[in-house]
Amino acid sequence: MSSVKQNIKKITKMRLFFPIFCMILVLLINLIKSSAFFKVAVNNGVLYGRLIDIINRGSEIAILAVGQTLVVAVSAGTDISVGSVMSLAACGCCTMLAGYGVNSATSLAMPMIAGMIGGILLGGLCGAFNGVLVANLKIQPMVATLILYTAARAVGLVLCNNQITYIRYEPYKYLGNFIPGVPIPTAIFITAAVIAVITIFLRKTSLGLYIQSVGVNARASNISGINSKLICFVCYLICGLCAGIAGIVASSRIYSADSNNIGLNFELDSILAVALGGNSLAGGKFSMAGSIIGAYTIQAITTTLLAMGVSTDQAPVVKAIIVILIVAIQAPALRAWMEGRAARKLAAEKAAGQAHAGKEAV
């Protein structure tokens, strides 16, 4: 029995335990509420079901969380511009494809892939801008990214000539929906690809070590031969590129560039994903897997609430309560307190046992 206990203890000590635990908890609540939750059906040749929906809709947050994790780790700050940059990337992409001032395009002004890459690069440019402000000019991350948080969405609107640009060209919808003949939503592939590329990059190069090292102590890292500024810049650049990709996916879902709504409040969800993943917002050590689990947990909460019929206006309240609970469970202070309580209880039991044994001996 004690070995079981020890094993349980070992598992709960693991870094990813709480993020996964919270995720499972949310899913379980869903299961109790409606037994059809895990049902995956095939409709019209594509997969269909609430679970698929969560993974599909969570793609943007997951992609953003990848970049956000690096930014948090390296600079102990957050990039709050990602939502706006998503919108800008989408507007840039659609304008390039439709041509400036065209409201609704049925034929493209340039190859679709070029437009999309252009949009992603626009995101990268924004990331580079943030990177220069934070790494070279040493502006606090929150302030530096506040600039694009306000400006990027507006620039996007200007690019679209103050209107919503529609791309009524069938292949453009593939990214946010389905490629004909493939039953799995395309966004899932894109997310998997982004995660895979970043993970392999972090594993195969020493970038991960450098980022953590700079995040913990930039001065010491510099003296040890790491170009702290460059590493910081690279993280913001990657974050911008991720925002660009997420923007294109979001735009493809509605085959248009809705400057005012694409990526609205996504920066908050992406930061939350990092925190839910058990990462310290004070920088340093990070877990990419944790952030991604965090991203899907948030989406699961959102989807669940909408499915339960909580109105869109009230959903944030319930979401906030759930998030407080999840973050509180992970808080070191609370965990230390609970562990201390368990230890005291054990000691009390032991003492009681001993007293009992003593009595029996008499």
Binding site: S206, Y210, Q212, N217, A220, G225, N227
Partner: protein, 504 residues
Amino acid sequence: MEENVLISMRDITKTFPGVTALDHAELTLRKGEIHALMGENGAGKSTIIKCLTGVYERDAGEISMDGVEGNIFNHSTQDAQKIGIATVYQEVNLCPNLSIAENLFIGREPRKKSGMIDWKTMRRKAQQIMDDLKISVNVSNVLENCSLAIQQMVAIARAVDMNCRLLILDEPTSSLDDNEVAKLFALMRSLKEKGVGILFVTHFLDQVYEVCDRITVMRNGKFVGEYPIADLPRVKLVAAMLGKDLDDLSSIKPEGGKTSGSDVVVEAENLSHKGTIKPFDFKIHKGEVVGLTGLLGSGRSEMVRCIFGADKAQTGTLKMHGKELKANAPIDSIKAGMGFLPDDRKLDGCIGDLSVRENIILALQARQGMFHTLPKSKQNELADKYIDMLQIKTASRETPLKQLSGGNQQKVILARWLCTGPDFLILDEPTRGIDIGTKTEFQKLVLKFASEGMSVVFISSEIEEMLRTCSRMCVMRDGAKVGEIEGDMTQESVMSAIAGGDAK
């Protein structure tokens, strides 16, 4: 309990994952005495203090204090302060971005009737405290702009002002120069007369014999013994700390690093960094150990930072192996074969959250470049090699560096540079805050490296230590290199050179 006892700690035990830091340790402190707590790195000195002040909670043991009922359990430093226990730690734990006055009164600011902070009174009181302690400083200055020494004094002043009955000084003198140490000692003696018990942790034997009444020695988390100062001559003290009769420390001969050969490894000409160090020339040969000596703030650290490229040189040229080296960032110097153990371990050296292994391989990895990651097996091998070679006390190679004791952290950072196999190694105060046993080890290591052909620049506040290791010394004064001494160096000749006598 005997008369006059202020605090008594019995059978204190504390374990950390994989390490028993304290094993039935004891400590008794009487009113109005200055009590030295001695031991090697990792002997448990800091841990027992932290158990007393509530930073750690002990696993077992009793603490009793005069005038306080029962077994004391402090859960935080605030609890300890309430019963009159104040601590000044090894590394200054104040708010660097606040003024001296704010630091003195943080958490207990004088208030007006309206509840607002009474800044005027605060400044006046703060100035009075500092004046009483004869520390001449403007209390409106921001703390981080003050020297480390002043910061230390502020920390002590704060403790003194909080009516403590037990003042714990953990390595307070490591960063003070002689003058300031004398001031501190005067202060300690006057507090002692008022009946305050002072627990003094230091590695400087001289200081112990100068100011203390009693010594408690610890080793490997255990209590070794408590001795009145008169009964414990130095040799016995060192023997008690190390647990063996030390072959006399002076057995290390000052033969280290003859100016072997004519191979010049590093040559600096007219190098300078504006505001910190005036133009200087410097030359070091293969296998030579050169000391930099001077008072605190004389430009010792600034000079080596400039050579290494941590502060970019603004004038002059630097040649390494005869080739000009333009160092825009430390990485250029590292690639050329330099290593630099910085003076401020906490700020410039340690990457606390990363593991011992990651800290050791960091500089080597940086030199290799991001795309040539060292294989994990190689990393483990290197980490194990240096943990073994430098006898780093750590639970495992994956333990976060911040969990190690100060001296062991220093060894890890030394290992970081040894990993890169440098031709030229700069050691800036490598032995600060390190116990005497490890100090001797460090000195032996330096001589060993030199005999293997490494050129070393060695900086230390202890002249004795430099005399033992260096074959030549550069004398620094007021941000400039004022001379060099070579040949027959004695403590007196070096001191007079530093003080501004005729430096040859």
